[in-house]
Symmetry: C2
Subunit: 229 residues, 2 copies
Amino acid sequence: MYKNIKVIAFDADDTLWVNEPYFREIEGEFAKLLSVYETENKINQELYKKEIDNLNLYGYGIKGFVLSMIELAIEISNTKISPEEITKIINFGKEMLNKPIELLEGVEEVLKLLQTRYKIILVTKGDLLDQERKLKKSGLMKYFSHIEVLSDKKEHNYERLIKFLNIDASEFLMIGNSLKSDVLPIVAVGAQAIHIPFHTTWIHEQISKEEENDSYHTISSLKELPILL
Amino acid sequence: MYKNIKVIAFDADDTLWVNEPYFREIEGEFAKLLSVYETENKINQELYKKEIDNLNLYGYGIKGFVLSMIELAIEISNTKISPEEITKIINFGKEMLNKPIELLEGVEEVLKLLQTRYKIILVTKGDLLDQERKLKKSGLMKYFSHIEVLSDKKEHNYERLIKFLNIDASEFLMIGNSLKSDVLPIVAVGAQAIHIPFHTTWIHEQISKEEENDSYHTISSLKELPILL
């Protein structure tokens, strides 16, 4: 299945390093901050709604997340929230942007092994500066011959990338934790994908069972990748 | 001077379309909002300081600008600012993100003319999604064979781009309104540059007189470009 691969593209957040749990952690802090106004469950639901409402405008990433939290805090508190509490929300964001990078198991060994046989690139979505900073902090930059930060991971984004790489779609293999962003659009454009689920997935990245299919492999750790190739 | 050019790169904001005046406009609104606490002059100075303090963390773009305004409003008001006023600041940002695109004079004619003889690309810095959206709104997408959004426009960013384009630095011509970002680093890496000053320049992009030199041309409008080439 993976015989003619020329380029292997890795997703970054929750594929190479921990990301989503930091959002969950801050969402918990945010709900605690607003707990006098609403239940934690309701706050989480409303925050997700607010993020989706703002997604077209802000895109993915921490800055948009912080702006959505501030907007929601003002609404949920019926404008009773204090400036000191808004400062706390701003500081949640700064804390997230300054987080150290925690690599997932096996990442460096696998990249080291594969780089001798394939062209390895990084394909991520979100905030350009934040993703560049995380890559720098990760120490993994030397393994990647190209870094592509996309505003979204839809079929047309991948088609453009594959065209730019000057290869056939069948020669492109994407590896990532999100079925919705890293696997299904890849399979749809005729490229290949391997899914490595991560224990925490943002609702926005979740898909229904029936969208799953057998045109890709699922492995439980990056360490299983070399055996598949 | 411009005989061996293979790729012409255009900056976007204030080179192809109006951008900086929108920031000035919102800075004015912001100062008015805080006018009970401080003079407009002092607020402008402090906002610039705050943006520079946050630049490493937030990067360029409207979302970081809004977060800096909120942070400063809380500080300058000594936490007296109301949630309603913070909502106004959030809406300043949304208004900016939704602005229509106003092309500068001659842009479309010049791109149409040059695309037959050169590879034309767009090289801008800032927020990925916002820049992509502006390009889409501008109707200019069809003229560019490649879009590069950089997290910054320093020498190393340009070196990497020129290497990626697989050309010699001397075959690369950059056109833009910022001496600091579009011209001086370009000349420093051995590529060529043409400066088109715009009437409004952010202080951060301004340079001292002695940094100017004669290794690039200055024209007053994009319409003069074809004559130079």
